[in-house]
Symmetry: C2
Subunit: 140 residues, 2 copies
Amino acid sequence: MNWEKHLSDEGLRITGPRRAIMEVLLAASVPLSPREILERGQRVHRKLGLVTVYRTLSLLEQFHWVRRVHREDSCHAYLTTSPGHRHALICCGCGQAVDFPGGDDLDTLIERVEARTGYCINDHLLQLFGLCPGCQETRA
Amino acid sequence: MNWEKHLSDEGLRITGPRRAIMEVLLAASVPLSPREILERGQRVHRKLGLVTVYRTLSLLEQFHWVRRVHREDSCHAYLTTSPGHRHALICCGCGQAVDFPGGDDLDTLIERVEARTGYCINDHLLQLFGLCPGCQETRA
DNA sequence: TTTTCTGCAAAGGTTTTGCACCAAT
DNA sequence: ATTGGTGCAAAACCTTTGCAGAAAA
């Protein structure tokens, strides 16, 4: 199901600003801050305002069409999501981000921590940071 | 080595405000936001100001005496650190936090992601969220 | 006494809120 | 025609900076 149909089904409207923001996020391979989304979005929908960016992000986040990640310089940056619970690997050189699934290793880790602490774990935040192949060359 | 000796060795001063902030953090079992640290710290050192809290946190963070974690409601919250690279498991019910080491599972996961993506991974952010044993009872 | 640290005030950011107008249905 | 959405302005926060006075060493 696509996001436009999803919003319609919820009785919400498909508007120019919302299309612009979604378009920007879908085109980005790097997590973007609200301000960056504004700047890029204004190239699509000239009158776009920052307030609408915030409101749209929080809407899209509720429906899991976008996801918030933590960047060192701007604590709140947004990415479109792949289906399922995935994690971000972010390049410290160029900001390029790729998604990856947690997999069995993470499940095992969580089970061990549950056993040791008695906590019932129901969510996690995992992000990896490093250098992408391109940036490794540049620094070599 | 304790933090007071560490600061002295660096030519920095042990002051009332710094003692108050460290005392608050050592007594806390929950990650605290700068504002929360201020409020608790003022009970120890009445004239403590928010600016000093920020400056002291950034100082202590540089020396790894405290560590920043991400709380849902306040992006920047601080904890005293255990030695080594450890992670936080935070209770969604009461905010209680415990530390745990990543262990082999995390190392394996990172190696696999490196192999699959070609990235060279040099840092990570991992936090777990759940219910502590006490809060599980309350909700049962 | 010397230098660092502190608190205040103010500046710089980001995020939220109130409201009248606009636009999707 | 009805609602919900938008942008503007302003408020509310959070974090950083400049500076004169206070306090460690």
